[in-house]
């Protein structure tokens, strides 16, 4: 009981200190300047740009976003399997890959490989292989060792054991983890572009930079549709597998 009181008091103290130290301008919304600009934003926002030429551009950027997320998830799944199969000693490396968010990887890689979807794909692949590597390792560690022992007792090599005992047993779980990460990655891929790593995000930050709110609204709507569709799609696959 005492521990709870201390915890609650320190949480309250944390929130109060945060508010005191941050110098928030929460009421700047209601200053005449930003109020008029917000009203203008909103009115433009409610009239999204739906010209065919612009919609075509959005479709191209959406395809780029899908490709970024899918390809990076595939690469990460491959690396994750490799790690789970051969390199179990790399756990600390996995933690580093996982701890650094996609966006930070992306801005580091932008310096290395330049602007564009390639940097975004690599960033997603690095972060995701950290996550998937750990999930895969755990899936293999928690599975029933019986089949692997049986094969090992009949003289199978470690490669044979992996492909005929460990992998088939863990496969449904691995697929479900991978699909879950793909859902995550499509969200991340549509946001990564904000730092210049391609896809819908890059388009959004470009049009927001020019204060073209109607175009930005269409891009955000496209992002929402894309995320919803992918969620529904991978949900269906998972239910069929599960």
């Amino acid at each position: 009981m005492n521990g709870r009181v201390i915890a609650i008091l320190s949480l309250i103290a944390l929130v109060i200190c945060s508010f005191v130290s941050l110098d928030l301008k929460l009421f700047s919304f209601f200053e005449p300047d930003s109020f008029t600009s917000m009203v203008r934003f909103m009115s433009e926002f409610l009239h999204p740009d739906v010209q065919p030429a612009f919609l075509f551009k959005i479709a191209a950027a959406s395809a780029e976003t899908i490709a970024m997320s899918a390809l990076s998830t595939l690469i990460a799944a491959f690396l994750g399997l490799l790690i789970a199969f051969k390199a179990r000693g790399v756990r600390p490396l996995l933690n580093v890959l996982r701890a650094v968010p996609e966006l930070v990887w992306a801005s580091l890689l932008l310096i290395a490989v330049g602007l564009g979807p390639f940097a975004g794909t690599l960033a997603l692949a690095l972060h995701t292989s950290g996550v998937l590597g750990r999930l895969y390792l755990e899936a293999f560690e928690n599975q029933d060792p019986g089949p692997a022992w049986a094969l090992s007792a009949s003289g199978a090599s470690s490669t044979q054991i992996f492909f005929f005992a460990s992998l088939p047993q863990a496969l449904p779980q691995l697929v479900s983890y991978t699909l879950y990460r793909w859902e995550n990655n499509i969200r991340a891929a549509s946001a990564l572009g904000v730092v210049g790593a391609g896809g819908l995000g890059q388009m959004l930050s470009f049009h927001l930079g020019l204060f073209q709110m109607n175009k930005a609204a269409s891009v955000i709507a496209a992002t929402l549709i894309l995320v919803t569709v992918v969620d529904a799609f991978s949900d269906t696959i998972r239910r069929r597998l599960g």
Binding site: R4, A7, L14, V15, C17, S18, F19, S21, L22, D23, L24, K25, L26, S28, F29, S34, M38, F41, A63, E64, A67, M68, A70, L71, L74, V96, A99, V100, P101, L103, V104, S107, L108, L109, I111, A112, V113, G116, P117, F118, G120, T121, L122, R187, A188, S190, A191, V194, V195, G198, G201, L204, S205, L208, A216, I220, T223, L224, V227, T228
Partner: protein, 283 residues
Amino acid sequence: MTSTRLADPSPALHDPASRGRFILGVMLFISIWEMGRLTEFDVNGLWGAVTDPAPRAFLLGFFPPAHSAEFLKLALLETWRTIAIASCGMFFAGLVGVPIALVLTRVLSLSALGNLENGSGWISERVRQFLRYVMIFLRSVPELIWALLLVRVVGLGPTAGVLAIAITYSGMLGKVYAEIFESVNREPTLALLNQGASRLQAFAFGLLPQCSDELISYTVYRWECAVRSSVVLGFVGAGGLGQQMDLSMKMFAGNEVCTLLILFVVLVAVADWTSQILRKVWG
């Protein structure tokens, strides 16, 4: 008779699934190839990242990390601001999320009293449906995009970060709190309501005691996520560690980036550790 059979390709060697597998393989290859083209995949570019002078200088600059007293002071201040942005954002998210979760909770509905099976009144059901859609919208737009929009409205700085976290997380908290409220045993709450307790009384004495542990544990977990995402929000100008990291990267100051990355990893580890302790306190 037997000789003609032997002349046929042996049925044992003929795999009926081979055609499907072949087509699937070709389709997979083409789609991976196409994705590689769309993402401008370039292995040579990857090699260039290590050999070109500018990126190499940047990477070599990582060691030793920047450690002048002045920079460390600045970096620590930004780390605190990151925590503060996350905490303020969570506070506002709770302020919005809790009332919405209460409205969404069908157990507390007076019009549903006595006929839970038939559902509550038509209007209140529509209001709930509408609120559910609002919640979905709030949390479906990534917080980075909210921040990007808000930076244009309220200007650069922590205000945009706090509001972005508040918006996204109120959507999540509202939904999950409502699910937690719905998942507990209804009888105590219904008994209180039937005895003439007000809805807030029924909530505070019937519903809340059953699920306070779960609520706190989830909130602390979300706070940990908010700390992570407030770092990322800094990259669009919403203040904190991320903004400083963005600045250092744009100046190609590898040593500063290295220090900030180390601080970030430590911060995430500390947030993780704190939330584990808090969750253990509420066991």
